[in-house]
Symmetry: C2
Subunit: 361 residues, 2 copies
């Protein structure tokens, strides 16, 4: 770790450190001669400026923090990817943290991001507010929420309006004859969990469907709770004939559990999941989903954050969602019949929406 400093570069170039610094940071007040000499000296020594020292003096670190609730969730993996690309475009490097859906890990990571003096933070919060998050606000560290928000914390955010998609899903299932729709919900401690659940209950009553509270299972956005939800709902005396699952990981767990039980998707049970994941279309039958554009969300989050860093107070953005109908939400079978022998799944109804994600205004 024989680090080369700007001092050695200056010495080799035969100029002062001040001049070397000016050349290396693009300050125009330099002569062509010293520009050339410093540049070649830096190249020869393979000089890499120490970002710590640079950030210590200057105000900016040119780093953004992105804290997602679970990297293994394909939605957040995609989000990380788009955020990284967008940040890169603006000269920022992204430090990605993984809260693992746990508030303590989120706080630990937030603390290190604060310590490292990132220029701003994009946060998909877990829980309902912690000291670390309040600390963020008290220090006026530029922060935006993505995907989820926290009640009472007035920060710019990019979220999805799940209502449209959920309404479309409920109406679609109702039109297919389902009256008892099960719902595997996200945790009520998260804004998306609450909002989607509220939208679901509203749409269910609006469509005159069963509002039986036992049709709702509250999961935690992890695969295991999807399995548990299927177990609970199909164990009811009057099980649902259709199922809406509030995120992709729980959908994976739910599907695995249905497989184990020999319940055929799209035949014995209709299903729609929130979040469009590429391979959901590859399942047999392909899974109907409520889609929202992760690329737009990532780009918008970076845009908002950069505005906050520049001192602005941008308005929050709400992105649309929409139903994509595939074979898994075929018309209802007769409720209560035991699983039948495998038959080819019914032909999917004509899609009500294209697969292409909706662009934000």
């Amino acid at each position: 770790m024989n680090a080369i400093t700007i001092r050695e570069v200056a010495a080799l170039a035969g100029v002062s450190v001040a001049t070397a610094s000016r050349v290396l940071s693009g300050n125009p007040a330099t002569s062509p001669t010293s520009r050339a000499r410093v540049a070649s000296a830096a190249a020869e020594l393979d000089f890499r400026p120490n970002a710590q020292a640079r950030a210590l003096r200057g105000a900016r670190t040119n780093a953004l923090g992105l804290l997602v609730s679970d990297v293994r969730n394909p939605f957040f993996a995609d989000l990380a990817h788009t955020v990284e690309q967008a940040a890169n475009l603006h000269g920022y490097v992204t430090l990605l943290g993984n809260a693992n859906e746990r508030a303590d890990q989120q706080d630990r990571y937030l603390d290190t991001l604060i310590s490292r003096r990132v220029d701003g933070i994009i946060l998909a919060p877990v829980g309902e507010g912690s000291d670390s998050i309040r600390s963020l606000i008290a220090r006026e560290i530029p922060t935006v929420f993505v995907d989820r928000t926290i009640a009472g914390m007035d920060l710019p955010s990019v979220t999805t309006d799940g209502t449209t998609g959920i309404r479309q899903a409920v109406e679609h299932l109702a039109a297919a004859g389902h009256t008892r729709i099960g719902y595997i919900s996200g945790p009520q401690a998260s804004s998306t969990g609450r909002d989607r659940f509220a939208a679901f209950t509203r749409c269910v009553t609006e469509n005159g469907l069963s509002a039986d509270p036992s049709l709702v299972y509250f999961g935690d956005y992890q695969a295991a709770s999807g399995s548990a939800g299927v177990h609970a709902l199909l164990g009811l005396r009057e099980p649902p004939t259709a199922l809406i699952v509030a995120d992709s990981l729980m959908a994976v767990g739910a599907i695995a559990s249905l497989h184990d039980r020999g319940v055929l998707l799209g035949v014995d049970l209709a299903m729609v999941a929130f979040d469009d994941v590429e391979w959901f279309a590859l399942l047999n039958p392909a899974l109907s989903v409520i889609s929202h554009s992760v690329a737009d969300m990532g780009r918008t989050a970076v845009d908002l954050l950069l505005q906050v860093i520049d001192g602005g107070t941008p308005a929050s953005v709400v992105l649309p969602s929409e139903l994509i109908v595939r074979a898994s939400s075929a018309p209802a079978g007769t409720p209560g019949t035991p699983p039948r022998p495998p038959t080819p799944p019914a032909a999917p109804p004509a899609p009500t929406a294209s697969h292409n994600s909706v662009r934000t205004h």
Copy 2:
């Protein structure tokens, strides 16, 4: 961004900065009195030490860099997760970078990691060596390779021995009567691409199967190349009756393409993919895979890196792989017959290996 410094903490506590620093960094040479006063002052001001300044003076940053070739690849998402957890256990924070399977993005990220003076780097390299990687070695920055290596660069590494799994897969398919096995390979510019391809060709000849070079398609570990591979291989005059795909993303592309063509997995075409991804088991028919333990790989990589940081020169570790047979690799259909109407997939043969991943010694 009204940052609180140790100076203000010291003032409030009524001690010198030196004492404050000692208390805050756990130096035992402090009196209980000042410990208490400094601690309460720090808490009251919500003091967060500036990691930049700390790292500037001291030698360590307590940060590791993890550079993966593609975050959206579930294998690397899982790896990121386990590495992060393991590093966390040792008090390190992980800076995750995404090379996007592109050498230029990898180099850009390596440069920022060098600039930020991370204590060590875990690298899943893209390409066959660049100036940035050579720079890493020249500076003696602790680095280990994970999943992939680069020929001629003698760094500790954790890799998977794909040979066992591929041999099992080829023998399994041969036993089922397949003689023409297609192979969608990873890029020959990557060590895993070369190694797995070499193992495949060796096993094919050993088992007396067709070594027709047109049965091999070279992809790039991205989904699109999986589709292209299916297109190329099924367009042959004598198409293969079985397919081995060298990674999970290309498998996704391949499966999508098979869907589009109406080719039934496990009926018209047997398939085995490298990398065990949770939801591959959920496909219908479930996908046979060559599994290797990503958790072991992540933990081992962190272990090796910590040894290198402590001045050691640990030996590289090779982890095992094994075939997990599921329904997608059913016995061969008659080659060349057009897709038949859907029938229930054949019952899977008895698994030759358990789903549980093999533990490293």
